[in-house]
Symmetry: C2
Subunit: 130 residues, 2 copies
DNA sequence: ACTAATAATAGTAACGATTACTATTATTAT
DNA sequence: ATAATAATAGTAATCGTTACTATTATTAGT
């Protein structure tokens, strides 16, 4: 049975409506400003709880600690190898699933797709250098 | 400048021709039988070196420690949520890349695709239960 | 072959990210 | 109000992995 807590409210509030996929550490540093005594354990405990309730998504980064996404359904992400930004990719996941399922005898339930390269900003900056 | 070592030879030999994607720990336990003094550091150091020379692939598992793959090019893997087997998926990666690139303004260089669900064996066993 | 230079090693310590523990505090149902 | 119990802060512990250090093994040049 879940009880209300202002820490959890603050965590949800901090994470919602952002697209930068912060780390637990980033959230913790920001949350300390409004709740000076909040602890890392509380941040992790609530993020894990929210994830298991399918309210947020834990995004495992190939380049560092986990990121957190307010969009709860599993979707592809793009990791910039230059500035380390994490972006949501608007990709038809059913096509990715269908591609994976082709010729595979098991049952594919889902996929985690991590694309990487240069994000639009870094690509643009690189082009301007020429 | 790289110098020869029997430990590295043994690691390469152990990993080659297998498809079970062992962990560093698994390799270490097996290697100890022929080289009782080999250390975890040596296993990791060589696996990392081989990976940076593109001779093997490090496979980050969503469900536990890293796995190692003698096939060095980045390719999709399937993770069984029932028996935790890791399988190579024979998927046309160019299609996955193309799907990801659609409508994305940045430059996609590669992707790590992790599918999961029931492997052929576990699916078959489940079917027999009915 | 001998020697010098240095890569690789075993063993151990340290690390970063995350989880677990514990006594206390806050929320909720009655 | 009270009792039951989630949730907390603070801290310790864990896991997988990397870094350090003194020693050993391999190689290049004589």
């Amino acid at each position: 049975m879940i009880k209300h807590s202002k820490q959890r409210d603050a965590i949800i509030e901090r994470l919602s409506d952002r697209t930068d996929h912060p780390t637990a550490e980033t959230l913790y540093q920001e949350l300390k400003e409004e709740l000076p005594n909040i602890s890392m354990g509380t941040v992790y405990r609530n993020l894990n709880q929210l994830a298991s309730l399918n309210k947020i998504l834990i995004v495992r980064s190939p380049f560092g600690p986990d990121r957190y996404d307010p969009i709860p359904n599993q979707h592809p992400h793009f990791f910039c190898t230059n500035c380390f930004a994490v972006l949501d990719l608007d990709v038809d996941k059913n096509r990715l699933l269908a591609t994976g399922q082709e010729g595979f005898k098991g049952e594919i339930q889902d996929c985690i797709s991590s694309y990487y390269g240069l994000c639009p900003d870094c690509l643009e900056k690189l082009k301007l250098k020429h």
